[in-house]
Amino acid sequence: MTHFLIARLLRGVITVLVAVTATFLILRVMPGDPTTMMLDNRVPEEIRQQLLKDFGLDKDLFTQYLIFLKQLFLGFDLGTSFVQRVPVMDVILSRLPWTLVLMSVSMLITALIGIPLGVIAAYRKGSFLDQAINALSILGIALFIPWLGIILLYFLGLKIPWFPIGGAVTVGLEGWDYIWDATKHLVLPVVSLTIVHLASYVLYMRASTIDVLNEEYIRTARAKGLKERVVLWRHAVRNSLLSTVTMMGLQLGAIVGGAILTETVFAYPGLGRLIYEAVKEHDYPILQGTFLILAVTVVVVNILTDIVYSYLDPKITNS
């Protein structure tokens, strides 16, 4: 197990390095540079050049890359935001918790709803219930987050103002009021992220449970005279979870993508919205920093997924 973890960690580090390099390069081949958005085109050329020099963008690509890596690995420094003129690390740390809350709450709810729905659909394969679950799931996949977000905001934020229409928390609250307020702000973004990602959980769990229910050990479980409830939830689900857990790890990338759209629509002050703003402003250090954090998150979650998987599958733990 230790050996396995070290190998996974090494692979993770390489993955992060590749992701960071790719981000670095992509940003610099994007048309335009930070000054195009920041400065009016009537500003004299010398000032523009001076600004580029301040940002370190006058040097050649390779030197920039070396400086970036040196700062990152020797000083654990992600640089300073071009636009906000504050350390990128501070900006990210103030935004990261909101995104983590949004994503983990959404993933948890998606799993808690999606897994049982998939199992029930599989057990009642071909029934009306199964078809209804399938149809609704596919409808969920087909929805575009900004569209769904706007519909939710219009009806539940404006027409019936149950939920706030933006932000993460009202300024100046403390204690339980703070938590209650933050929860209310979280509802609509979580609902739209969940609806869109629910389908893959349901359909995946359904397919793998259908496969498992045809296995011979399920017949053995019935031959032992176990209750149907036990046959399904103890003997089948534990096995069909195996492939679904792998899928959940891979699905994380899609959830990150979904979070960017969701946070933008709901003006939620997380990393996703930060990325959206930084892209508009060509704020390279912010983008480099956020992508680094996202890459690390994805790698860590995948390692966690592998650990959960090995716990579920005795063939891995025992060999």
Partner: protein, 331 residues
Amino acid sequence: MSRDKPKVLEVKHVKTRIKMESKEYAIIEEIDFHVDSKETVGIVGESGCGKSMTALSIMGLLPENASVSEGEIRLQGTNLLTISKDAYRKKRGKEMSMIFQEPMSSLNPVYTIGFQLIELLREHTTMSKAKAKKKAIEMLQTVGIPRPHEVIDEYPHQLSGGMRQRVMIAMGLACNPDILIADEPTTALDVTIQAQILELMKRLQEQFDMAILLITHDLGVVAEVCDRVIVMYAGQIVEEAPVLTLFESPNHPYTKGLIASTPKIGEGKERLHTIEGTVPQLSEMPKGCRFATRCSEVTERCIRESPPLVELSEQVRCRCWLYPKTSGVSV
């Protein structure tokens, strides 16, 4: 085997239907037999003759698209087809149990051997966890598993095929059933292991006082362990006889063919006998005798009319127009 022995299992006129592509077919028809207490009855036949479906019909474990549509299945006198689903479930694993062909895939890969045994004991008895564990270890020992104290915490993939089949047998016997249904229990195993498993089953039958219904395509296995044999063809019983009688004087042309196609040591080097053709498809079941198309002694009557199962002597029944109704009644 005299007639007055108590019958553990009675199968009367059972017909099982399967639904495929919105059409219904009878996969087994007019199945009629019984198993006495402590007796071993074998069901033999080619793949697709309905022998496994017969076993699953008895256990109530038919696939979703199949069901028993006629007849009675009596276990110790109770008709299983009229009791509630839950009462039926409670008999499975306790009064009747079943072991399967593939020991490799018959155990749940994510739970330990102990968990799977203890779960069974706790379902059917009021044993405490500790007591069930003790009993589980004892059962593993009974079926000849070395170091049972360790095996109980191991997972199925850590055991060999033969060991897994022993575990399945331990689960089958743990609640002391009246009958054990074994569906090709040795087919997937090495020849040397096969012999061990058969021997084990015979020994445990004595020890646990139970009847065995053994389903196999292997006449060698039948000769070794069975008291009585039922030969099935295309979903029907075609012959039934005590094991020695069957091998010495088979009646039905199909049984003759089956015996002739079994290799025997020390007998010539000529080509092994084969029965030409295959079992008819469910959708193309002939109107007359189902074996007619492959039979070497076929007559015109065989193609026109389906022969009844006729009692030839006290314990011998045969479904063939070659044998007129002599003594018994047709069923």
